[in-house]
Symmetry: C2
Subunit: 525 residues, 2 copies
């Protein structure tokens, strides 16, 4: 809220000067890097200057303060602007600003949680906003907090379906703690966007989805100030500020010119001079609003369900029963489902802990993003659906891994065992898909007791944990007291003179047991 003492003039002057500083620092950093998106960083300089100076409530020295606002650049390629903002906030040094895009630097080409103020990695368009919805949702439900979530969204990004899942959910959950700034600079990477500068087309769409909308000139600091003030006063629904901007604003050689996306300027020194040279404004952001201290969730050892040897139980049902038990033992566990909770059996958790269960409807991308948002807020999310339909959210799972998120994905009805429902309902690609994700764990239990144990272990497993369950009832083959860890394998059957080895997992273990018995009949052990 305070400014460097050297700075004179009105607050509007300060905002304009700060905006120029953000532009200059974006040019300086990208010129040093030799690559990056300086023009994408310039459009929103005034929008971010006013936000940082007046509205963002954030303790940059304590990024783990649970009441801090959240600022997400869904438009991740505007990272130089974000880094210039951090520099203006005193969070990173001018020296570090110059490490942009260098190997080992925290200032990656697109933002990532290598920086403590970044909640999630962005750079795949349409991912940041849905995560913002998840973070806002946590504060409205399981962990009430006064923070506000600010998301910078690009106009190109509005073509991504995932953005509309987020618009739908933000309104559905009445997230009035969410403010989205939409930069309408009309230019994508290779040409004009679908709607160019038709600001009204975006506002109409958002309004029809139940949002409050405010359309402004994105370079007019007073209009920006008024829009933010109106947004934070809006109750019961999220706000969208549709800001008409000019890409490359302030540098005549590139302003509103196509062909400059993701390219450094030809004459950075000239651009810096044109922008009025370097400035040295420091902004101390307002402290977070008063809110409860960081929560310590009550956790105890879960009393997991136990299944009798020889009985039959589907692993998907064991999942639901174990998750409900885990929820009783651990307050930090939340669950969500893609409108099939009666098939995945996450409905058993919903029955037991309705206040921690989230129906995400048929929006798998928003479901994964909400899980990431809950993880950002220190919760332990489990997200379930038919395994086949997680392929709809593959990019989000990939981005969750890059975001260093710990989430648990539970897919039911895996494999051809889904049978007569047909191939569209069968997950056949899920193991390959999940194993290819950086730092992932794929769990494929073969019986109900093993499933229950793995559910409990998954809660503490870092990264992306995928648990694959099957539809059919299958025999319980391990005693309830058996111990299981993540990784390794188990010997189901062996004899002294084995001739054949069968290695298998999940539901096919039962087919393999039958095969072994049949082979034994033929004298083959």
């Amino acid at each position: 809220m305070t400014t460097a003492p050297s700075h004179p003039g009105t607050r509007a002057d300060l905002w304009r000067e700060l905006a120029q500083q953000l532009r200059v620092d974006s040019v300086r950093a990208t010129a040093a890097a030799g690559s990056g998106h300086p023009t994408s960083a310039m459009f929103a300089a005034e929008l971010m200057a006013v936000l940082l100076q007046k509205y963002l409530r954030y303790d940059f020295r304590r990024p783990d303060n649970p009441n801090n606002d959240h600022l997400i650049f869904s438009k991740g390629h505007a990272s130089p602007l974000l880094y210039a903002l951090y520099a203006a906030a005193g969070a990173i040094s001018d020296e570090e600003l110059f490490t942009l895009r260098r190997l080992g630097s925290r200032l990656e080409g697109h933002p990532s949680p290598a920086l403590p103020w970044v909640d999630v990695a962005t750079g795949s368009l349409g991912f940041g906003l849905p995560v913002g919805v998840g973070i806002a949702l946590a504060a409205k439900t399981v962990d009430p907090r006064p923070y506000r979530v600010w998301v910078l969204l690009g106009d190109s990004e509005m073509a991504e379906g995932s953005v509309w899942e987020a618009f739908e959910h933000a309104a559905y959950w009445q997230l009035d703690n969410l403010t989205v700034v939409l930069d309408v600079n009309r230019l994508g990477q290779s040409g004009e966007t679908m709607h160019s500068w038709d600001v009204g087309s975006y506002a109409e769409r958002a309004r029809s989805f139940g949002w409050r909308t405010l359309s402004i000139d994105g370079h007019d600091v007073d209009a920006i100030d008024e829009a933010y003030a109106a947004a934070i006063e809006t109750g019961g629904r999220p706000s969208l500020i549709v800001a008409r901007t000019r890409k490359g604003k302030g540098v005549a050689a590139v302003e509103d010119q196509p062909g400059w996306h993701g390219k450094v300027l030809r004459d950075p020194e000239g651009a810096i001079a044109e922008l009025g040279g370097r400035r040295h404004i420091r902004i101390k952001a307002a402290p977070p609003s008063a809110g409860p201290p960081a929560r310590t969730y009550r956790t105890s050892s879960p009393v997991l369900p136990a299944y009798e040897l020889g009985t039959e139980k589907a692993t998907r049902r064991a999942y639901g029963e174990a998750l409900a038990a885990l929820g009783s033992a651990r307050e930090d566990v939340v669950a969500m489902d893609g409108e099939v909770s009666n098939s995945t059996f996450s409905g058993l958790f919903a029955d037991a802990h309705s206040e921690r269960f989230f129906e995400m409807f048929v929006a798998e991308q928003q479901m994964i993003a909400a899980a990431v948002g809950f993880d950002v807020r220190g919760l332990t999310p489990f997200a379930s659906a038919f395994a086949a339909f997680f392929s709809r959210a593959y990019d989000f799972i990939r981005m969750a891994a890059i975001s260093r998120a710990s989430i648990r994905i539970v897919g039911s009805h895996a494999g051809v065992a889904t049978g007569e429902d047909g191939p569209s309902q069968m997950a056949l690609e899920d193991i390959a898909m999940l194993r290819a994700v950086h730092g992932s764990t794929v769990l494929y239990p073969s019986d109900a007791n093993q499933t229950a144990k793995l559910v409990a272990l998954a809660a503490d497993n870092p990264g992306i944990t995928y648990l694959r369950t099957t539809r059919a009832d299958t025999p319980v083959i391990y005693p309830a007291e058996a111990r299981f860890g993540i990784g390794g394998s188990r010997l189901v059957h062996a004899s002294l003179h084995d001739q054949v080895t069968i290695a298998t997992a999940g539901i096919t273990v039962h087919a393999a047991i039958k095969a072994a018995l049949r082979l034994a009949e033929d004298g083959i052990s």
Copy 2:
């Protein structure tokens, strides 16, 4: 247009009777199968009865007639209704109707092109409509046709982001040959949808996206008739008919009751009696509108670009140059891009054949669906973007394979070679992801000449063909006259006394060549 002579009464009576027949046949088929979604089939019986009897222009004996309308059940789990419709049209026998969900039957749990009247497999919600957009787009551009595309969409499905990509594109391309029937029965699988029976919420959203909307009682045959008539007269934009319906309509035990999704009725005989028993109405659909005969596209052997040994050329650029050349030789080749055509170099095709290039903006799912739609219409589509971002469309690629579509996907900037842009821009999962798709081909060329040859081969390769290109310029290592096939491998370097074998692909071939030279310096061949 004609009816079985036995049937008396007004046309409205006929529609009502036909609707009851569709319901009864849905119940009969699912009862015989012992599984399926009879309640989901009942809501839209009147909507489909009026469509079949009066509006659908389709020669069921000649599904390959290029001027036939297209009917897509985006809500694939309503398949019993679709099959009952085919039976009423005389396309399938009552006997075949009873094979529903049996192994080897063409009547799969969810529709697939095993049936010649089905364009694409559905069953993963939010996929059918975007493909319908592609089919409608083909008729408005590269292959002008009088046909209309009819899509049955479910209200649960509206939560999928991909649906909004389709709404956006249908309006953008002014597809007035597209009519979507949205069934608002308010009940999803596990509970109420987000908007229940708030028909207006859907209509408002669609209007804001530029659609004509008509809200009706989905069981009122006269209202349905009027809505279809209005829809086909609407010019310049697509139409959405928002139909309020009751799930399980006509059978008191299940009508508008939750908990009946995907379950057979307890008393099918009672339900059939309640619905008035079996009927034997046969409808001969109206013939397709007069239009041009099936096209034979001019194709000749392409004059591919040739690159000199030892020069450097990025495989992504070779892709663009080869595709432009292929487009000159083959009229059936169309290309599309996810708003990065200046990076993937599909822009070179756009420059040469602008009338066959489609900018799909940042909507990877709609892009893949449009490619499938073009394939349905006998074209040869190539779709390009950064390889990393095809993970956003993975479910669509999976569904394209189940749809038996032949499409070519070209991902640039593959692997860690993308470097300073950061992990969000690097495709690291793409090979695993694409290889796991049924019947797919993954091509990863290591130089420009090989790339050019593979582009030409990909045009005739069935199924999902994925070509992976890299950003950096790399040496041309194969002569332009070298012959390449799909599959197999090539020996780059060998000597009589080799001690080490290096197997590699794509850009790492060049690293491997350097490694081999370094090893040779150490006396290791």
